[in-house]
Symmetry: C2
Subunit: 378 residues, 2 copies
């Protein structure tokens, strides 16, 4: 067992993240021009393939399969401020539903051939785990048995604390807790990659978790709170106005001048922190990380603030209906692949985008050139 | 062998197309409200699942797999007007490339597990067919050996004529040729469904085929020619202005007051006609037809003009960069699933959308209800 100091894994991970390989990107651009199709006719997929070549440092980059979606679950003290109409126990109930294969992310994952791993990084209420498939805690080393991209819904017990504190009253987490949650995410990324995953997909489950997401996006982009706050799972006008006030209060309490970890601790969530680590872990291993919705985008902003080059590993899976997602993606310079008005979370938008990402990469592996196919050019 | 009069199959197919089943649609709407997700959180996928239930007449509707993309190939006399910089022989060369598995549609199809069938409905130059996989003509009855959703790239020789005539000089086809091409498409749809396909995807290959597509879209929607004409595979400003003039000339020669088949014959293409039949065939068999880009949209307008209820079978796979596609989709009341600036054709946009369609349907089959999963409601 490796004994690490808190923060040591985070520092090492940030240090390992490299900028995109320009040679591989140039090779991918040149290859796109020789394939049997009009130049530019694959639109955004051409640029995506070039970015993934830069990430992998080779052209063609590896196919992003097998892929694994990691659903980080946590609860939020700010729910006490009534920012959501759903009771807190729904987080634990939905964790059980996902482990039982009954959630939308499971249906999408079966369609796409993606494994679903659930990580309890901060659920507040008791988890009623189904028999089997429960794999216990996250070891410092090695791959947990069954923790593979093909096993169905392994569960990882990695609770940092039973929900955050109410960020309108005090910081949601201590710095140590925030760092511990980030490092859970890094280790999950590492272990999934070690188990064979060639794409990491972000997932989340946590009642009220759009509130800390909006707070992080406002704090990290400088956007107005109202411009990044949405209706989450569906709230009325009164609750929506109240939610904006709650986020404004929390950001006021946090104050200016915090560093990234300080802001994350003040107004973030345990699953947001873990997702930031998950993204950093993917970037350090040069594996693409397909972002889901607004929770993922807030975590991506944290990751990019800690390690700007980590943006090279990010693929925006979809445009969530939550306005903060669009603000955050613009800040990151990312264009989403799917835009269907979805706002479910769980990783659903990321899983839906995977076949598109795989198709973009497959072009560089399999399509004939004008020369090889004997096709005339214009 | 069944001896049919020309037009008999078209008439019977149009007569077989039924409006959506409202009971199945209501059942799907009600089911969406009970599943473990916030109401409406799957955005456009919820409505898509309801439409497909209406098409199938049952809830949940069948999963749209296995799926088959049919690539109808044809040439265009209007190429003599220099509307494209590509030589005509590229149509035949790309047919060979697709049959050899080297085109983008093949790469996408392998990713999605979709079979690719190529139909020569009107190629002008000699086809250099690879050994094996060539299945000969389209019999009146029965399923051609190997003509299955899992076989790779079967080829169907169903040439109606070797390219259309120049529509700026005379009608591109006679009415009989247009009807014959439509009926090729119907028979391909029927045989793919009989072979097990549960979704039909439109594909096309034909140098200059965005020109007749734009003419059909202008003729069937009443939009200005300039508003529906794009740059196809990539043409310069001068050729673009010339292309608009060519289409305007052809529509002027065709005149007003033509019926749908008359317009199709005057300014359409053999693959456009076959695709219209393919869509009608899918609709008659209550199987979803996923539309690719602007060629498919022009054919869908023809199908909807012949049988308005056929729109219930149409799923807009993507938004082509060609402006006519957006005009046509709006006219049909369809919202595309993928919008990535693609303009390749071949069926690539339809294949890319298939996993999204399948995911939407899978939700109705597999996701737990609040009751069954023991999840609290808000």
């Amino acid at each position: 067992m490796v004994h690490r100091e808190p923060g040591e894994l985070l520092d090492a991970t940030v240090a390992a993240i490299r900028p995109p390989d320009e040679g591989a990107m140039a090779a991918a651009e040149s290859m796109q021009a020789r394939l049997t199709k009009p130049a530019g006719s694959l639109g955004a997929l051409e640029n995506l393939s070039v970015r993934l070549a830069g990430l992998a440092g080779t052209c063609p980059p590896p196919l992003p399969e097998p892929a694994a979606v990691a659903v980080f679950a946590g609860d939020h003290g700010v729910l006490a401020q009534r920012v959501s109409p759903w009771p807190q126990e729904v987080t634990a109930q939905m964790v059980a539903n996902i482990l039982g294969g009954g959630a939308v992310v499971n249906a999408f994952a079966r369609q796409a051939g993606v494994s679903v791993t659930v990580i309890d990084v901060g659920v507040a209420t008791a988890l009623d785990l189904p028999p089997g498939g429960v794999l216990g805690g996250l070891p410092d080393d090695g791959v947990i048995a069954g923790f593979t991209p093909t096993a169905s819904s392994p569960f990882v017990a990695a609770k940092v604390r039973a929900g955050t504190r109410d960020m309108t009253v005090e910081p949601a987490m201590t710095r140590a807790e925030a760092i511990a949650a980030v490092e859970v995410g890094i280790r999950v990324a590492e272990q999934l990659v070690e188990a064979g995953a060639r794409a990491l997909l972000t997932g989340d489950m946590g009642i009220a978790n759009t509130t800390p997401a909006a707070a992080l996006i406002a704090g990290l982009t400088g956007a107005e709170v109202a411009a990044v706050t949405g209706r989450g799972t569906g709230i009325d006008d009164e609750t929506y106005a109240h939610k904006i006030g709650v986020i404004t209060t929390a950001l006021g309490l946090a104050g200016d001048g915090l560093d990234t970890i300080g802001l994350l601790a003040a107004v973030g969530g345990l699953e947001h922190a873990a997702l930031a680590g998950f993204i950093l872990g993917g970037a350090a291993h040069r594996v693409p990380v397909i972002l889901d919705g607004v929770i993922a985008v807030s975590a991506a902003l944290v990751a990019a603030a800690l390690a700007p080059a980590s943006a090279g590993a990010m693929v925006a899976g979809h445009r969530s209906a939550e306005p903060g997602a669009t603000v955050g993606l613009r800040h990151l310079g990312l264009e989403p692949l799917v835009d269907l008005g979805m706002r479910l979370g769980e990783g659903t938008g990321a899983v839906l985008a995977l076949p598109i990402v795989a198709s973009a990469v497959r072009v560089l592996h399999e399509v004939a050139t004008f020369d090889s196919a004997g096709v005339s050019e214009k």
